[in-house]
Symmetry: C2
Subunit: 431 residues, 2 copies
């Protein structure tokens, strides 16, 4: 292991990060399980990319089949890209009627912002604090989780993530109050002499640790943005493809229509595949100026992988599974929250659950506890990780085939870990 670590540092350099204090050497995946070099099983509750399970046989077979027949680009005709585009578009409102393919969420968001800027003739972008949207120059700048305000261009203005647990507002009026910050952001851009292009949000507000905006927020923001001449980009890279249980896309939690929807990670179950879905009139404007070509985007193999993922989601009713198992899991975690003060909040939708750890009744973020619990869960055979600006929130985002039995496996181990740690990390005397 140490040899592997030093080799990695030498060959991949210092910018790469590893999970866990003692990193895992994962060599095999099967459904909800990952295995290390000693064949130790780990229940994967973190990796949303393996949406329909690691090495899902139907997806594996689709890739194996197509890769032996043809793998070329979209400058020739091919049914796979058309059939897949049709299938994806059918999951979305009719007005979102054009699909453009790329390889990563970063590329999908890049295209969204390029089109938004072209169509609005603006450059201003409004984004939530502690957001993550990708790793290119333009997208890293709006990935406010990873940069400091002074590192951002003038055209990036942030608004508070609509967090109703730890944030500025809670209760009935929270959605409106948070939406009002978008008005202020528009004014700030005006002050700076910058025309608004778009508002972009991960519709489950994952990186902020919030997991979901208060009902009505997205709709109110869309109206404010539209009134100001901007476009609304719904980044569905994390919540998409049924994960939230109630709806197939995160933005559908509110009754409104985004102008552009981007998707990635779970789309090809690990095969690099992403898309930008967009209203025709916008892409028509863009196409008058320039074309779009992505060498690997929408190739025959990628689309076969994507199609197979859709097959499994539908045939195995995985959206329903996310809803029912997600409810069971969340309810049981809430029971643990009653037992252990360390758990300040349990929230989320479907199989996207956040567990916020606090170290006292003042809701002080229990960052150290969360980190330690992640390491201990790993040792007991469960993979999770922390998120949020204080890294005190456990993020659960298992493959969509997650079962009640899998949930119990986790709950049992989580209970043990909490039992061992609660007294150490929660200061009951502090108020």
């Amino acid at each position: 292991m140490s040899d592997q670590l030093s080799k990695r540092k030498k060959l991949l350099g210092p910018a790469y990060r590893l999970f866990y204090d003692e990193p895992l050497n994962i060599i095999r995946g099967d459904g909800v399980w990952l295995y290390d070099q000693e064949n130790r099983p780990f229940l994967d509750m973190y990796n949303n990319v393996a949406h329909v399970g690691h090495c899902n046989p139907h997806v594996v077979e689709a890739i194996r089949h197509q890769v032996g027949i043809l793998n070329t680009h979209t400058r020739y005709l091919h049914d796979n890209v058309l059939d897949y585009a049709d299938r994806i578009l059918k999951t979305l409102p009719n007005e979102l009627d054009v699909a453009m393919f790329s390889c990563t969420g970063t590329e999908a968001n890049e295209l969204a912002l390029r089109i938004a800027r072209h169509c609005t003739e603006g450059t201003g972008l409004i984004v939530t604090e502690d957001a993550y949207h990708g790793n290119s120059h333009a997208i890293a700048e709006i990935s406010t989780e990873d940069n400091e305000p002074e590192d951002r261009s003038d055209y990036v203005v942030t608004v508070p993530a609509p967090d109703t647990y730890r944030g500025l507002y809670r209760g009935e009026d929270a959605a409106r109050k948070y939406a009002d910050h978008v008005k202020e952001a528009i004014e700030e851009l005006q002050k700076r002499g910058i025309k608004l292009a778009a508002f972009i949000i991960d519709t489950i507000v994952s990186s902020s640790g919030v997991v979901g905006a208060p009902s009505g927020y997205l709709k109110m923001v869309a109206k404010i943005i539209h009134d100001a001449g901007g476009l609304f980009v719904a980044d569905e890279v994390q919540p998409g493809f049924g994960r939230t249980g109630e709806t197939f896309w995160g933005f559908e939690s509110d009754a409104f229509l985004p102008d552009i929807v981007t998707m990635g990670k779970p789309m090809g179950n690990g095969h690099p595949l992403a898309a930008t879905i967009i209203k025709r009139n916008l892409v028509e404007k863009f196409a008058k100026k320039t074309g779009y070509f992505n060498t690997f985007g929408g190739n025959a193999v990628s689309c076969a992988a994507g199609m197979a993922v859709m097959d499994v989601i539908e045939q195995d009713n995985l959206q329903e599974n996310a809803l029912s198992i997600g409810k069971y899991l969340k309810d049981e975690i809430k029971s643990l929250a009653n037992k252990y003060d360390l758990i300040g909040d349990v929230r989320g939708k479907g199989l996207f659950i956040a567990i916020e750890m606090i170290s006292d009744c003042d809701m002080t973020p229990a960052s150290e506890a969360a980190s330690s619990i992640v390491q201990q869960l790993k040792k007991s055979g469960v993979l999770t990780n922390t998120i949020g600006p204080h890294s005190n929130i456990l993020k659960l985002r298992p493959p969509m085939i997650f079962s009640r039995e899998n949930s119990d496996y986790f709950l049992d181990r989580f209970d043990s870990v909490l039992k061992k740690n609660c007294a150490n990390y929660f200061n009951a005397n502090k108020n």
Copy 2:
């Protein structure tokens, strides 16, 4: 077909482009051959992505094997990414000692420019005219082939592509004279109050139709750029992996050391895989500020595909094949050039050949002829396409397994097409 076309327009929108007046519906690939829905064979002389041949059995098997075992990201340890990084780094000078993986050439160039800008604290970029480096916001801006000077930010300054056929200079001094334009570009950035970050060039200058800089140019430019505190980025997406025959990387045609090398297209033989290779001290500076993570970049399947491509290149001596077959092909095309005035110039290296069409002795670009010849070659079973600012240059870039027999197949058809067209398109009386 018409149904497929209208479906495509409806589902993918107007920004997508197709090859050929009557687009091809390609459904199968095998080695140097692509087949349409009627099983008509087309000799592929254009698609460099299928570097070791369409559906190369060794690469297909590597993907099929790994996709059934594990396909996850680089936040766990895995030997594939380390073994592959080691293998790629061994093809490069020792000083280029860190490999960072992504999915597309765009992403590889994005990372290169982010690091260059961070390390130099500059933003200024110098790029050749009519270049192509990718499709994101920042990279589209330096893809000067696809935009107009007025669409570029102040920090982008262009220099003429070092074309010694149609360009400003030819003969012995051309390299130096072209390099002097880089000095002017640096002065122009200074005038604008912008600090230089990097010079970036496709080392075979493909999109300009030039196919290769004059000997000494890259080295002279590197010195000028380094003296001004900037970094030299060698974009090897097109020339890399032995295609130019004499060297494994395009930049090796000159004895100099780039600071960053980017690679993509042929790397995974169609599987989305790209890399940014960089000097350790640069990535160390970058890593102090931020990490880098690319969800699909460097995953176990991508690296298995990349490793298999390297196996085939080495085991089948494909760099040598590119050199010997490329020489045969170029020599034979030069013989045709003696026969047909329509061919103004034949240039290139290895299996990257450009044929420039002219319509009179004044070297007027024969754009219409080139376009017509591409369509006629397609009808006769050969796939090529045009490049260059006048679209009058045939670009030949077949899979690296291209044989003498394949060359003769093309030469025979090319001869026939030229015979039919030369008199129509070349005006012998005009001088």
